[in-house]
Symmetry: C2
Subunit: 297 residues, 2 copies
DNA sequence: ATGGGTTGATAGAAGATGTCTATCGATGAT
DNA sequence: ATCATCGATAGACATCTTCTATCAACCCAT
């Protein structure tokens, strides 16, 4: 029964019988039969088909909601019972937006000291993808913006506020300044994240409201790539202070605070709004609450 | 998987493998195998055995909690999907304390007008049993005292407040009074509910605090039996006003308000504290909210 | 139009799981 | 000591699940 509900979950995220089957480790006919059996038990069609997957019926969407809940609960139960025996163990799956990647270590390091048997899997994703993964039970927690775009049914723990820096060579224009404005930044050719990243959209908004325009010379979804360009001394970028500090400055590259307006965005931990949480997730939330005061500032 | 969890639920309430199996409609070896398989999956013993059922291990108790939730959710899902198709239909299982039985009709009658396809099963139980049945998913809602004794994880909707009446023949001692005190009532030989009923415990308390003592001439767990004795004109009883009115007075039997103290107890609807509720239960809660103002007074 | 590629449904065989009856061993009461 | 009760176990049978192989419908490109 519960495995059939897992089929529905897989189908919801893959939107393809064959792929969903593969994700569940069964063959396509098995998954088809499972879905069909659910439909017989419920007495309603759950999936609209016409030679290909065409989404869920209204009833199917309700079943999907329940499936998330029931499957989530049964996993949490297993994990909880396991923790009672072996202490906290298993795998913590986490997804973070690229600009927050540098601070994940501030969470994982103390966590690992307390619970050495927990393993980590950490994905770099856009803020939207983080929420999708959370919905689909593919991750246990996410790190993303907690104020701007609408979140789903999740609980949040604020971690720190993002301050922006202009990264540029000391001998470049503006390179000798102690402080620059967004209007000034708008004049510089920048390396920025791709527009599917919320960080980019935020920076675009800030540039625009300063009367400038966002015409980045180079786009990428990798912070490492952006930074490696800045390091050559021939490119500039705008990054949150946290990650700029982590990447490390050289004597030739400076990270200049941007003021007017002093732009801050709150980054936080995001977990499914379900009580109780899995022990592994609960421990992460506890760690986040403990660490947050040290991070902010 | 879910059916195995149902085994655990049955075992928790029957505390006996054979009886639990019968309640699930399977044989005892089947239930034993099911529990054993759960234990293997979890990697822990869930039930303490020693030639007979000896309760759950700590892990077993946690699994039991989860089982209540998961099984409850899966039933709610089925019911919800069914309601989407056929409108509200199915069976509403309700348990009420005896003194509240007379007012159940005030709930079921308007409910039935709106949802004619819902069938009712209504049990008369003690307040403690009502809560147990609720815990074990054996009823959808209960009607009981919502203030006095501690409730479990439930939500409540207050319905009305109980006022007490002395039921006695007009020509008996006190029979001509418009008002009597608890101290006076304590002098009369009474027919009361058995002491396992909370109503009896409340009345005992009131009599005692008025300096009297509870020495009922006759005890029963049936309000009808109590009333039939009162009707002979040779017995007296103390009942809530609601049920006294419903049973109907004759010219020879009077229901005399008892004052000093004016004793009131709040009776309310009690449903599992789980969101969302089954559609059938949700409709009952809505009806209770609607009806409550008319009942109280 | 037509042919190739894709998608999900179907059929039938093999395997896994669930359930039953019958029986046993342990425990506790008389 | 004897009996009754309770839950575990064994073995047979049935059901359900899953697989491989194949099919029909559809889409798209030529």
């Amino acid at each position: 029964m519960i495995d059939k509900l897992e089929f529905i979950l897989a189908l919801a995220r893959e939107r393809h019988f064959g792929h969903a089957a593969e994700a569940c480790g069964v063959t396509q006919p098995t998954l088809s039969a499972g879905v069909k059996q659910l439909e017989e038990q419920m007495g309603v069609l759950l999936v609209n088909r016409g030679s290909r997957f065409q989404g869920f019926t209204p009833e199917g969407q309700r079943v999907l909601e329940w499936a998330r809940r029931i499957v989530g609960d049964s996993r949490t139960m297993r994990e909880e019972i396991n923790s009672l025996r072996h202490g906290l163990s298993g795998r913590l799956r986490l997804a973070a937006i690229p600009t927050a990647l540098a601070m994940v270590a501030a969470l994982t390091t103390p966590y690992r000291e307390k619970h050495p048997n927990v393993q980590f899997t950490i994905y770099s994703r856009t803020s939207i993808e983080v929420l999708e993964l959370l919905d689909n039970l593919e991750i246990d927690a996410g790190i993303t913006y907690v104020e701007n775009e609408p979140l789903g049914r999740v609980n949040t723990v604020p971690l720190y506020r993002e301050h922006y820096r202009l990264l540029t060579a000391a001998d470049a224009p503006l390179g000798n300044r102690d402080r620059v404005s967004w209007a000034e930044v708008a004049q510089v050719p920048l390396c920025l994240l791709t527009p599917d990243m919320q960080n980019r959209r935020i920076i675009d908004r800030l540039l625009k409201s300063a009367g400038g325009e966002s015409r980045p010379t180079l786009e990428s979804d990798s912070m490492i790539l952006l930074y490696s360009h800045v390091r050559t001394g021939r490119w500039a970028s705008v990054m949150p202070a946290k990650i700029a500090d982590t990447l490390g400055l050289t004597d030739t590259i400076r990270a200049i605070p941007i003021s007017e307006p002093e732009a801050v965005q709150t980054i936080g931990l995001v977990v499914p709004a379900r009580e109780p949480m899995t022990p592994i997730t609960a421990a992460l939330v506890a760690e986040a609450r403990r660490v947050a005061p040290q991070l902010s500032g």
